[in-house]
């Protein structure tokens, strides 16, 4: 879809020039690392044991920030109405914004992985393919709901409060599945062991995407 692509193009351009979101999100990830370490104490073993959970905690917290800003550029520039009035299928906008969020999350996740590897002396190279698959499935699920709910809360005064309240319960399955699958992968076990979880993640992704695609036009009205 040409229009989905132009939305991504516009957001990437805006972001590249203003550098608002990406820098802050990356810095936020670094901070999270320190916070996790301080919260768990100096023992390396504790962090390693909690690693899958910490990773996804980091992704979700960063995701909350990122998804809340999905339509920020529209709000700041008063362009929301312009999007509402565009003729044709609004789900193209959803796809474009979703793609933008996935890109953003991918960068954040890559940074977080590198940081974890550096600060805790971990080696992800062996498990990278499997890990990437889990990250991809989980991130798609988070972003599809996050983009949809981000749009719903975009025009509200209480959006910073309402987005987590709505998003976190909705993505419980993604969290459970991603953490379990990540654990399997990080333990060096073959991917087939996590097959059930991966299927669940994929099924959840499909459901969330379909709901998002079908209902986005109703969110984007006035």
């Amino acid at each position: 879809m040409r229009r989905a692509w132009i939305v991504v193009w516009k957001d990437v351009l805006s972001e590249r020039r203003s550098k608002e979101s990406l820098n802050a999100l990356v810095f936020f990830s670094i901070l999270l690392l320190f916070v996790f370490q301080f919260a768990l104490g100096p023992e390396r073993a504790r962090v390693e044991a909690a690693l899958p959970g910490l990773l996804w905690l980091g992704f979700i917290l960063s995701g909350l920030l990122a998804f809340g800003r999905t339509f920020l550029v529209e709000r700041e520039n008063d362009c929301w109405e312009g999007l509402v009035l565009t003729p044709g299928d609004k789900s193209a906008i959803y796809v474009g914004k979703l793609a933008g969020n996935v890109l953003l999350m991918a960068v954040v996740e890559a940074v977080l992985l590198v940081l974890f590897a550096v600060f805790f002396g971990l080696d992800f190279t062996g498990v990278l393919p499997g890990l990437s698959l889990v990250l991809a499935l989980g991130t798609l699920g988070l972003a599809s709901v996050g983009t949809l709910f981000g749009a719903i809360t975009a025009q509200m005064r209480a959006r910073e409060l309402l987005l987590p309240v709505l998003l976190l319960p909705a993505v419980v399955p993604i969290l459970l599945g991603s953490v379990s699958a990540t654990q399997t992968v990080l333990l060096g076990q073959p991917l087939a062991e996590a097959a059930a979880w991966l299927k669940l993640l994929a099924a959840a992704d499909v459901v969330y995407l379909v709901v998002g695609l079908l209902t986005f036009e109703f969110v984007l009205e006035g």
Partner: protein, 249 residues
């Protein structure tokens, strides 16, 4: 005290009947009806805060009225807003300009979103028409309010809108700017488009109007062909109807 002219029975772009909009117990619009034909311009006068913007947004299908009916270009705008949105464009308080993008990039974005041809030459021609071609590649952040509005008008040029809604388009423009905008709107009408200008200052907007309407107390209290009203008549009626009987001279 309500005076309303009958409109000739030709191609009606806008048919609004008994539009009401309430926020809680207070009605912002209390039974607004108006009609507008293709190639016609309507100036909607009213003091600030009387619901002009609300009415404009309802006509743009950005807001749903609490009750009433609205037909745009013959289609039911409340049942199928999507069907009519392609024919509507709006230049409101926000001008739909992404500040981090250049003028050309903004036009490219909105053209593609609107499903129009976004060839470089076409975009550049539009910028020339609104006299922004010299700053085509500059970031919109550096533009003045007037320039942003001209960029919005370039966007309108590239579209296929048949109904143009403008909310206070003359504010912040100097004399040359106002003259320029007036000419732009006249040529829009000449091409068969209908337009509605909402404003609280009537020296500017009235020039393009075929009809003038005054919105006060949530209702249209005057709706007359502009030809019937001289500038003094209009001012007098405006003071009476819009500002309340106490201020009438």
């Amino acid at each position: 005290m309500r005076e309303r002219a009958a409109s000739p029975a030709f191609d009606l772009m806008v048919q609004a009947e008994h539009l009401r909009k309430t926020y809680g117990p207070t009605p912002v619009l209390d039974g607004v009806s108006l009609e507008l034909g293709a190639g016609q311009g309507l100036t909607l006068l009213g003091p600030n805060g009387t619901g002009k913007t609300t009415l404009l947004r309802i006509l743009a299908t950005l807001l749903r009225p609490t009750s009433g009916s609205l037909r745009i270009a013959g289609a039911d705008a409340l049942k199928e807003p999507e069907a009519v949105r392609g024919a509507i464009d709006m230049v409101g308080h926000g001008s739909w300009v992404y500040e981090d993008l250049s003028a050309m990039e903004n036009l490219r974005f909105w053209s593609i979103m609107g499903g129009h041809d976004a060839a470089q030459t076409r975009l550049h021609t539009a910028l020339e028409e609104v006299e922004l071609d010299t700053v085509a590649d500059q970031r919109a952040r550096t533009f003045s309010a007037g320039m942003k509005r001209r960029l919005a008008l370039a966007r309108v040029l590239l579209g296929r809108a048949r109904l143009l809604l403008l909310d206070e388009p003359f504010t912040g423009l100097d004399r040359a700017g106002r003259k320029w905008l007036g000419e732009f709107l006249m040529s829009f009408k000449a091409r068969g488009g209908a337009l509605i200008v909402a404003t609280h200052s009537f020296d500017a907007g009235v020039g393009v109007a075929d009809r003038v309407a005054i919105l006060a107390g949530g209702r249209i209290v005057l709706d007359r062909p502009a030809a019937e009203l001289g500038p003094d008549d209009l001012r007098r009626l405006y003071d009476e109807l819009a500002m309340g009987p106490e201020t009438a001279s």
